[in-house]
Amino acid sequence: MPFVVPKENYTGRIYTVEIGTGEKAVKVGGANTLPYLGFEGEIPNPPAIAIEIQDIPAKDWPETLKKPFDGVTDDPAAWARFCEKELGVGIIALRLISTHPDYGDRKPEEAAKTVEAVLGAVSVPLIILGSEHVEKDTQVLKVVSEAAKGRNCIIGKAQEENYKTIAASAMANNHKIIAMSQLDVNLAKQMNILLMQMGFDKERILTDPMSSALGYGLEYTYSVMERIRLAAIVQNDPAMQPPLVSDIGRNVWKAKETIASESDIPEWGSVEERGITFEAVTAISMIMAGSDLLIMRHPKAIEIVKKTINELMER
């Protein structure tokens, strides 16, 4: 019995979403096959990686993670410039964590100033993330979206409870949007449909099905993403075809596995390599499940994953 390549024919394709402007603009998505099955379709763009910075110094971050950013986290603009110039990262994700009522409650206008300063410091595309406080994000993301007009950013995250204002301002200022839902295929689809119904161009949406860290619910995210990708590619469902975003860094660096010292738990080995590998393994699993854009924290983890992405793109 001779071997016959078990090729399947798909009709769906992921939308190509471009972010940023000029030479540094980045395209994500565009595949018309399941992750890295190059024998039956095209994968025009590699998964992109954004590095996460925040609008307050990284005091609470674990030591492993603070080290590579030593001396730059006091000023978000300097931090962003460092990521672009020194680390050579292609996308910056700025989390406006201090706008959260529990973490500083900064005003939308202050957040807008930070966004302007960061945009002034870098030429790579910017992802602007709120604090995921439902009410506060509506105020903050509206104002920062205006401040970032013309730079083709990704604004996020819009959730079922607050998407209208956020989407309206992202639309008015020509940005892309992250639609977030909670670990459920149907909720992810519904969120995309809600945005489309208010006139948001479906090819400007990115779906965040809620990320998790390795060991902390990764299997749920993994399967939800695989199912979304199957619906997009195999069933050609237009409401499932936005690229997928994995916001993993903050989950990974909260896990005990990335923080506990070797003296506390000797059987886990060196904390630095462990943390980096934990983030890189989380990232590569998300890429296997269909992620098109990852938000990560540790520069070394990003470097490791990028090398593997390069190999994934080679035939």
């Binding site: 019995m1 001779p2 071997f3 016959v4 390549v5 078990p6 992750p35 890295y36 099955l37 190059g38 024998f39 529990d102 998790s212 390795l214 060991g215 902390y216 619910g217 990764l218 299997e219 749920y220 993994y222 399967s223 695989e226 199912r227 199957l230 909260k254 896990a255 005990k256 596995e257 059987e267 886990w268 080995g269 060196s270 904390v271 390599e273 462990r274 980096i276 590998t277 934990f278 890189a280 393994v281 989380t282 590569i284 699993s285 296997m288 499940a289 490791i304 994953v305 090398k307 593997t308 190999e311 994934l312 793109m313 080679e314 035939r315």
Partner: protein
Amino acid sequence: MALSGVEIFKHLPKTNCKECGHPTCLAFAMKLAAKQANLDSCPYVSKEGKEFLSSASAPPIRPICIGHGDGSVKLGEETVLFRHEKKFVNPCALALSIDDSLPDTEILKRIDGVKTSEIERVGQKLRVEMISVGHTSSDPSRFSAVVKLIRENAPKIPLILNSKDPAAIESALPHCKGARPVIYAATKDNTEAMVKLAKENSAILGVYAEGLDALSSLTEKIKGMGLDDLVIDPGASTPRRMIEDYTMIRRSAIKKGFKPLGYPIITFTSSKDVFAESMKASIGIAKYASIIVLDSIERWKMLPLITLRQNIYTDPQVPMQVAQKIYKIGDANEKSPLLLTTNFSLTYFIVQGEVENSKVPCWLAIMDVEGLSVLTAWAAGKFTAPKIASFILESGIGDKVARKELIIPGYVSILSGALEEKLNSDWKVVVGPREANALPAFLKNRAA
């Protein structure tokens, strides 16, 4: 690939003799298709019919058992391509490569690394299961001596004898009597000798050929020689080829019923650097490899890989659960608050994470509700006032805290009255936040 009743019927005697206990051959065929009858009940089925039907009803990926006794490893038997469809059956085995050109002291160190690799995670004990003995010394007697050394020091650990030289394999096999090792590998150049050795020693044969065409021809040839306990390697050495080749293998076996590729996959993730190896091993775990042979097993590297394997091979229909008990978070003492939630692993992880975030030491009471989340458990009648009360009272936590106050999840605030009644009169019930992310603020406010 499962056959329909009508397809099975074609291979039955069609005499309606009823000796199988069914009124007609067709009725029997239908029962066979539904897996409610066994072909052995038919006394008259032809030899050809029997062969055809038993091979058609065999699992699409052959079950393989390596090693012996309680260290043995079961592989194969997979039935799906995506884990949401059905649980991935047999978790891939992780193996450490030990080369025979290493000095004995280094070899003993590596053996010890495998023997002490166990990590406990969410109630499961997980470890590196196998050792692959590499043969770069080009001296068969050295290979044999190293296999002997490993067998003496780690008699329970299943082995992969990694040499394409039949002479080396032959010299090592006497140390593996009854231990069902993997011989890796048969190639087109040594097929006859390797098949003979595998048969004589009831070993599993690894089959290596570059590409899926060559690999399928070789496994068919070997099966024709009477050997069917195989693991296969199409030589995919890059991440992209691993995903493509392994997907094609799994798809051919499961969706097309293509027998020549219906075997567990073995992969060697050897890489330039240790991080790159972690990436390739992750791809192997997610994408259908059954044996992953690693160059090194540093503890910091194995924790993420073993965790990934646990995640991928979790049953999607059965929620992961943590054990019912009162967990101590931080330096909790008699003044620390006591929080309650359910034993669904995600619920536990999120609540525990947020409590740790708050930096307020706490007691976290995790109640067994068969792995359901708070609202689901409440709706299913498993998270009720009487049940919670008996858990809290029997746990003895009342003796450890000065203030008998139980903080319950905001979603079940409705329980607070009934729960206070069920607990002894000195207990007070406090309604906490609905979502875990509000816990840090809640706990800090209370502490202030």
